[in-house]
Symmetry: C2
């Protein structure tokens, strides 16, 4: 490496480090707001976070960054594609080009609108008042289309938003994949709905919250979540957030009479967090020190929550321990009855409470609605009614109001429309594909899980996924780790086997 | 106001708001680090905080700010001196001129050195290893002198540092004031040391920490600390910090067998915090939204800790309540015995544990040593020995080692030398002067305190001190609130009366 190149790389890293520091500081402010901030702090906090975001964006889109990227192109292209410097150049170039396409004023309008819209939604949802959010949602749709206009090369307006979350995916790829998945899930759900229902009443006894928290903490420690480089707190909506590679925190909420809520959200968030904790320290301070896509991130949360945490093997080890923690509640409940209860399949109204079989139907409804709205075939005014119709059609249930209908999720009310749901289902699909590859390469993994040993699985995921951060796209990661592109097969096979055992052949 | 002036004022406020946002974000990071941050977060956190500080400094010292100040001078000088705009211009001008005197590179060297030096001290103190910090302290002295060289108009190198913390004060003013105070305190201490010692053994029983915390919280709520705009947490070293005017937090530490520690540090920090919570919201986002000096800040913490919280009247109301909270520990202890115990005077080694009479002797020793070191009459190498000698001379005690000697306080190891101690004693003096003025104007205040009513005192302090933020200097505030300049009289009178009642005439 010549001195000139070295000093240009240093300068690029220096500039990226400042952006990373501003974003990392913003993460601390976000975490604090969601956990401990007194209510009086709200107004100033919103402004401070907006300032940090704006300064980070200004610094990242500075023409000096573009000049360095231009100057470093020959060097980057001379390196093996999987070298850190090549990946750093490639990912920064891509993000820089996307970020500089959209004028700062337009971005500021989006940010201001998103914050206002979110505020209105927080009041409108409890009041079941779609009329209050309607004008804001209409503006969201207009801004989402306007944003897409800065990317004239794309086929569908949602592609601009999907690329932000799941780079490499497009509407054209997702639609057939989701259609095939929907057919399969609908068929499974239909069969299951005709079988004997599972009794899960034991999950709604009183489970003291301290003991729930202690149990969850013990499990995620065993998973390999590092409490020296993270912590767990309570918040109204569970989340995971990286304040730095060595400070990745999770939050959970517990309900005394809903055992699933606390434990499985803990396991879910620990999966997100272990991904970020596992990133190679050499990537710190750069755009590579981040999960590579919403889908890959979700693959890890769902893998640890469901494929591990709701598996027979896991409970073979943990159920006696859970019984010891809750002898009054579970002392006389058989392991098999408990296992079936936490895996109960039921058509329901709320996405975040849905079981593994029906969950993706909720996501696919939302994805489809967003596409139709962006294309203009469904108007915002009609959205509440169409929501109900699609739920009846796909799940056979109808919410009594808009609160649990079109107002259910924050996503459309806190940003743009079109890129925020596909990651959940892509994550489920990828999670199964990664897990199948891990087991194929290390067949002892299921037995290890049944002994409460998660080290080998964690290590496989770290080596194949976590450490790379954003060096590789989701497609590249899949190719490297599983030997092929995204496939639905392992996921459907996983669901059929697991739920076939519980409900009879599917 | 012309449109031009209006738009220049708006632009100045906009720029200052960004600086305020960066500093406010830095405060969140600091608070988090001191309370909840996992140990893994340390390295990234230090860098992120340094980045925020640097960006805030860059933005504040931007030549654009100077041009706006120049352009706005005629307007500012046309206003009454106590108008918000005049004060904003005046204080920003002063801070800008000071900040732009010192080159950014020199400031960066100071920041880097301070952080390194602090790290070394945290290990050197427990190891009683002055040799480890000596080279760092020598560099601190060199940097402190070098910093002062950018202010050639001052009489003493420490004046540059005193002006940062206690603008308007100089070594020439402080020295005779401290000399007079030292004589008076030494005389009082000598007399008291010949009187019957007070028994404070009851304070070293086991006081369950939850109950200590609940009691302290009840008191500061009654004081008027607003928990909707603040919160209390635990940290190794208690502090108060403004994340915003509407989010001012305090931390405390409790010791089970040292009753004084938890309660009085809670009351102390609540005084700092109520000052910041009481700033006029119209000043938010500007340099005026801050306490005006270290001395005035300390006047408020000491006033609420000592003049209120260690007063007879306070305990007339609260002692029965404290007995109810700790019946086993205090049920058979008389109010008078408890009152004497929390006000026990004793020559001791540790500044932060010292009583009201001897406390300032600790401060005056440190202030004098810093002056001598900056003047070159005491070398850093000799500092440990001179420390012990001065303690023997002024307090008649000698620490067994440097841990409780020259290594005792962080101040010289976490920044520059020469401006960090005078504020404590200035605060004690001013606190008595403010309190005397409040009582002179509202003679019912002592009786109100004895009924647990703190509203009128709080309101007087808010109206005369808190709401002004940094609009007025300490001298101006004293003049406006007490009708005269800084005076030692009220403080000595307060001490003589209070401790004369306990120990016999002084």
């Amino acid at each position: 490496m010549s001195n000139k190149i070295r000093s240009e790389m240093d300068e690029l890293r220096r500039r990226l480090q400042i952006v990373n520091d501003l974003n990392g500081a913003g993460a601390v402010l976000y975490w604090d707001q969601a956990t401990y901030m007194p209510s009086g702090g709200t107004a100033a906090r919103g402004r401070r976070m907006a300032t940090l975001t704006r300064l980070a964006h200004e610094r990242f889109t500075d023409p000096g960054v573009g000049k360095l990227l231009d100057a470093l192109q020959p060097y980057a292209e001379s390196l093996p594609a999987d070298s850190d410097d090549a990946a750093l150049w490639r990912v920064t170039r891509r993000q820089y080009d996307r970020a500089t396409r959209v004028p700062a004023d337009f971005m500021a309008e989006i940010t201001a609108h998103a914050s206002e819209s979110y505020d209105v939604w927080t009041h409108a949802r409890p009041a079941n008042d779609f009329a209050a959010v309607r004008p804001f949602l209409e503006k969201t749709v207009a801004l989402s289309r306007g944003y897409a206009d800065f990317f004239p090369e794309i086929d569908h307006p949602a592609d601009a938003h999907i690329a932000e979350a799941d780079y490499g995916m497009t509407v054209a790829q997702i639609r057939p994949l989701f259609a095939e998945l929907q057919d399969a899930l609908t068929a499974m759900t239909d069969v299951i709905s005709r079988r004997e229902p599972v009794d899960d009443a034991m999950l709604r006894q009183a489970y003291p919250i301290d003991a729930q928290q202690a149990f969850g903490e013990k499990v995620i420690r065993a998973y390999g979540y590092d409490f020296k480089r993270g912590r767990q707190d309570l918040s109204p909506h569970p989340f995971s957030i990286a304040l730095a590679i060595d400070d990745v925190r999770i939050t959970t909420r517990f309900k005394e009479r809903d055992f699933n809520e606390g434990l499985f959200s803990t396991l879910h968030e620990s999966g997100h967090a272990m991904y970020e904790q596992g990133i190679d320290p050499a990537l710190a301070g750069t755009p590579l020190a981040d999960g590579t896509s919403a889908g890959v991130h979700e693959s890890q949360s769902r893998l640890w929550e469901n494929m591990v945490g709701r598996s027979r093997g896991f409970w073979r080890y943990y159920y006696p321990r859970l019984q010891a923690a809750f002898p009054d509640q579970l002392g006389r409940v058989e392991e098999e009855a408990f296992y079936r209860a936490i895996n109960k399949v039921m058509r329901s109204l709320i996405r975040t409470d849905a079981d593994e079989v029906t969950y993706n139907l909720h996501v696919i409804i939302r994805f489809g609605l967003a596409m139709d709205v962006l294309e203009g075939t469904v108007s915002v005014a009609d959205l509440p009614a169409v929501w109900h119709a699609r739920y009846e059609e796909a799940l056979g249930v109808r919410a009594p109001d808009d609160r649990d209908g079109v107002l259910q999720d924050v996503h459309w009310y806190g940003g743009l429309m079109g890129g925020s749901f596909q990651g959940y289902t892509l994550g489920n699909i990828m999670g199964a594909q990664f897990f199948a590859a891990a087991v194929a390469q290390q067949p002892a993994i299921p037995e290890e899980i049944a002994r409460g040993e998660f080290g080998p699985l964690h290590e496989w995921l770290r080596a194949n996924i976590y450490r790379h951060g954003s060096k590789f796209t989701a497609d590249e990661l899949l190719e490297r780790a599983t030997g092929g592109p995204l496939q639905l097969g392992p996921y459907l096979e996983y669901l059929r086997k697991k739920f076939g055992e519980i409900y009879g052949e599917l």
